[in-house]
């Protein structure tokens, strides 16, 4: 009897051990990613598109996307065509693409999503002025007719911040509740949302039937880590495997010395700039703007602002050749630091000793940049002072109302096409909050920008942009400082194509065997 008892006990224990082992095998390893913020909702069209975008970008796809060379390539659309006048785009959808609710993606879903993008408060500024009509030829063909020629339009559609294709049926079925719980999130993406703790983390599982191939990583967690210091330590301890935000230049050495963390960097789309008010005040005089151009040592700005991790830019969009349509002009900025010339120009303008207020944000690196500029302006003969401002007040007062003489801030491009960057920062129509933060207005510039936007021949387009850049350098509405490097740090437990990490998608990562 006793022997029997022990035999039974041994069998039960062995079975338990086997079950446990198989359960352990069944649970896939979790890819943990830190990000400063997760989304408050998965209702794409009504949700802020900052860090929040990357909670959503794992479950939603776009019509087109970017490949590792930065080219726009098909995604939900298996191919797309642009008419010769760049006013009609035709998208041919892949057949058999399924949403996570099992329904097939059809042209009506694309129409619904684009209509939502046109009215969304977050994206209407892009699509509403551009799109005239959405036509469905059949269930798998969508034609977008534009109001005006736009070569850069496709750039927005490939960008996860500004585009996502949702299921019309699911969006209408759930109404206001759409995207508020994992059950109400329906996408075609490589991952499906499984768990979501508001403000803390999102857990995703691989969509095994994903049309571009099942994801290599089967389970992933996006976790809030707001501090870059904490993120770097967590990468080293193995608590997270990647961090979806830029690593400041200051930490590059720390990461280089950590054996188990890798860093991939790429030219960012953020241009640190000093804007001068061309509409009124002391810098309405071009001579004074030229004085600032001669007084400013832009290499110093790069060193101080980004620890030298980045590249000095000669004009907006001058991102080491990575901007679409960039004429890639060498040494376009003709003002080398020359305090003698700067002083002379200030004296000629009769402004010697005049007080100047530099406004900027109070967060790093702006106060440091402002201090360098203050020093330069003082040496040029002006009595410069710095006012650090809280972000909301700065946006309202300086960018919106133009109440400033000279200011330092960053111009972040949504896409990588030069049309958005130059028209956005120099066209009269963009004056104020939309991006022309110098309040600069020139008929010549406007007509050049309009002509470039309407030009479909790449060679001619580049030629026009060369003239835009020349006029920019001549008129000096702003002093372009530098584009800092964007960067992503990830653990050596995973591998990724370095050219893809900036898009913050789990799909681009795989475990190292």
């Amino acid at each position: 009897m006793r022997k029997m008892f022990f035999v039974c006990l041994a069998v039960v224990l062995a079975a338990g051990a086997v079950l446990r082992a198989s359960a352990a095998e069944a649970a896939p390893k979790e890819f943990v990613v830190g990000i400063p913020k997760i989304t408050d909702s998965f209702a794409f069209f009504t949700t802020t598109n900052g860090y929040e975008t990357f909670s959503m970008a794992q479950v939603y796809d776009t019509l087109v996307t970017k490949d590792e060379n930065g080219r726009t390539v098909p995604m939900l659309a298996e191919k797309f065509e642009m008419s010769d006048d760049a006013k009609t785009y035709t998208f041919y959808l892949r057949k058999g693409v399924k949403f996570s609710n099992g329904k097939e993606l059809k042209a009506n879903d694309v129409r619904y999503s684009i209509e939502q993008l046109m009215t969304s408060a977050f994206t209407s500024w892009i699509y509403e002025p551009l799109i005239d009509k959405i036509e469905l030829t059949d269930d798998y063909t969508v034609k977008l007719r534009l109001k005006k020629t736009s070569v850069s339009f496709i750039e927005y559609l490939s960008n996860a911040y500004y585009s996502a294709i949702l299921s019309e049926e699911a969006a209408k079925e759930f109404g206001d509740k759409y995207g508020t719980t994992p059950e109400t999130v329906v996408g075609t993406g490589p991952y499906v949302l499984k768990e979501w703790k508001f403000g803390e983390y999102c857990v995703y599982e691989a969509n095994e039937s994903y049309y571009l191939g099942a994801p290599s990583i089967k389970r992933a967690r996006l976790k809030v880590i707001s501090d870059v210091n904490a993120a770097i330590i967590a990468l080293q301890t193995g608590e997270i495997h990647a961090f979806f935000d830029d690593i400041p230049g200051l930490f590059y050495d720390q990461i280089a010395s950590a054996k188990n963390v890798k860093l991939a960097s790429f030219p960012s789309t953020i241009l640190f700039t000093s804007f001068m008010n061309c509409r009124g005040g002391i810098f309405a005089d071009r001579g004074m703007r030229e004085a600032v151009a001669y007084a400013t040592d832009r290499s110093m700005m790069l060193i101080v602002g980004a620890e030298g991790k980045g590249a000095v830019a000669d004009y907006p969009g001058n991102r080491q050749g990575y901007t679409e349509g960039d004429p890639v002009l060498k040494d376009a900025w003709t003002y080398q630091p020359d305090m003698g010339k700067a002083k002379k120009l200030v004296e000629e303008a009769g402004m010697a000793g005049k007080s100047v207020l530099i406004k900027t944000y109070a967060t790093d690196p702006y106060p440091k940049l402002a201090t360098i500029l203050q020093q330069s302006l003082t040496q040029a003969g002006l009595a410069a002072e710095v006012r650090q401002m809280e972000r909301s007040a700065f946006i309202d007062e300086v960018l919106g109302k133009g109440d400033f003489e000279i200011q330092i801030c960053r111009w972040a491009a949504a896409g990588k096409d030069i049309d958005e960057i130059l028209a956005g920062s120099l066209h009269t129509d963009s004056i104020g909050a939309p991006g022309n933060w110098s309040f600069y207005s020139s008929k010549e510039m406007d007509s050049l920008l309009d002509a470039a936007a309407a030009e479909t021949d790449p060679g001619k387009r580049r030629e026009i942009y060369t003239n835009v850049v020349k006029l920019y350098v001549k008129d000096i509405p702003a002093i372009p400082f530098y584009y800092p490097n964007g960067s992503r740090a990830y653990s050596d437990a995973v591998k990724a194509k370095d050219s893809m990490v900036e898009y913050n998608k789990f799909y681009d990562y795989a475990w190292v065997e």
């Binding site: 403000g199 803390e200 501090d227 330590i233 301890t237 809280e390 909050a433």
Partner: protein, 301 residues
């Protein structure tokens, strides 16, 4: 008392948030949003109305228990706070308990053995603990216990283990102030006549200290502990940042940055009410600790 205090707090917070420059609609939608979209959102949030009208509407709704939805997340403000508060309360409670367990006994020891080695060491440690900046200590603790020894997690608040480093970091300055306070009040108490009487009656030193002296010396310590706890409930942004803990402190800072007025005001009301309730609890606790207070209440009744 609670209601007028809350009204004053609402007025101050709502007023400051509304009258400082910055447009919440612009902040939420980004600088490049279309003017129509911004105007639409301003209208939806009621931000296009004059301050007095908005304030009046807010107070009227708040009186009915409706504190509105966060402008940024669209969720009811108290639902958002409720999501963050458990983490903050667990962390604060752990820190306070730890501080009391360390600070009070060491304070008693320092007082009882005044000018001894215990006193010198105790007060010196207290001085150090009070002077160390929390974020620095937190970072050092992470570097040592998480990165070097790999003993404890460096961030988050997922399990009990996650609370150890942040709770210790938070507890250190609180323990230091409790140590010094306990020492001072104990020193005062043990010189009282009734302590001499207790000793003269031949009671053991332990009984004299813990039954007669400590009980009387504890009153200011209890008040101080309550106030420290109340302060911690408001979240400690530096510690929450260092350890990536999504507590109430981070919520308030984010809401202030985004000019999310309903969320900021909601948080202020919630924290003020929590603080006041906590202080009420401390007052009640007095009666249990000090029979004289209990007796005076009984007399009044």
């Amino acid at each position: 008392m609670l209601v007028p205090m809350l009204l004053a707090i609402i007025f101050i917070v709502y007023g400051i948030m509304s009258l400082t420059p910055g447009d919440p609609a612009q902040l939420i939608l980004g600088t490049r949003a279309s003017p129509e979209a911004i105007a639409g959102l301003r209208h939806e949030m009621g931000f296009d109305k004059p301050f007095v009208v908005r304030y009046g509407e807010y107070v009227a709704k708040a009186a009915r228990g409706d504190f509105g939805n966060s402008w940024r997340t669209g969720r009811p403000v108290f639902q958002v706070i409720a999501g963050r508060f458990p983490t903050t309360i667990k962390l604060s409670l752990a820190a306070v308990v730890l501080a009391v367990l360390v600070g009070v006994p060491l304070g008693v020891l320092a007082a009882v053995k005044q000018y001894s080695i215990f006193d010198v060491i105790g007060t010196t440690i207290a001085m150090f603990m009070a002077s160390i900046p929390g974020f620095w200590f937190g970072l050092m603790a992470i570097l040592f216990f998480s990165l070097k020894l790999r003993l404890l997690p460096s961030n988050g608040a997922d399990s009990l283990k996650h609370y150890i480093l942040p709770a210790v970091t938070l507890a250190i300055p609180v323990a230091a102030s409790l140590l010094r306070l306990t020492r001072t009040t104990m020193l005062e108490t043990i010189r009282q006549d009734y302590i001499r009487t207790a000793r003269a009656k031949g009671q053991t030193e332990g009984k004299v200290i813990f039954r007669h002296a400590l009980k009387n010396a504890l009153l200011p310590v209890v008040t101080a502990t309550g106030m420290e706890f109340g302060g911690l409930l408001g979240g400690v942004v530096t510690i929450e940042t260092v350890f990536s803990i999504n507590g109430v402190g981070m919520l308030i800072i984010d809401a202030i940055r985004m000019k999310d007025i309903p969320q900021v005001t909601g948080c202020a009301i919630f924290l003020a009410a929590s603080f006041m309730i906590l202080m009420l609890f401390v007052d009640i606790l007095y009666a249990y600790i000090d029979p004289r207070i209990k007796a005076s209440y009984q007399k009044m009744n």
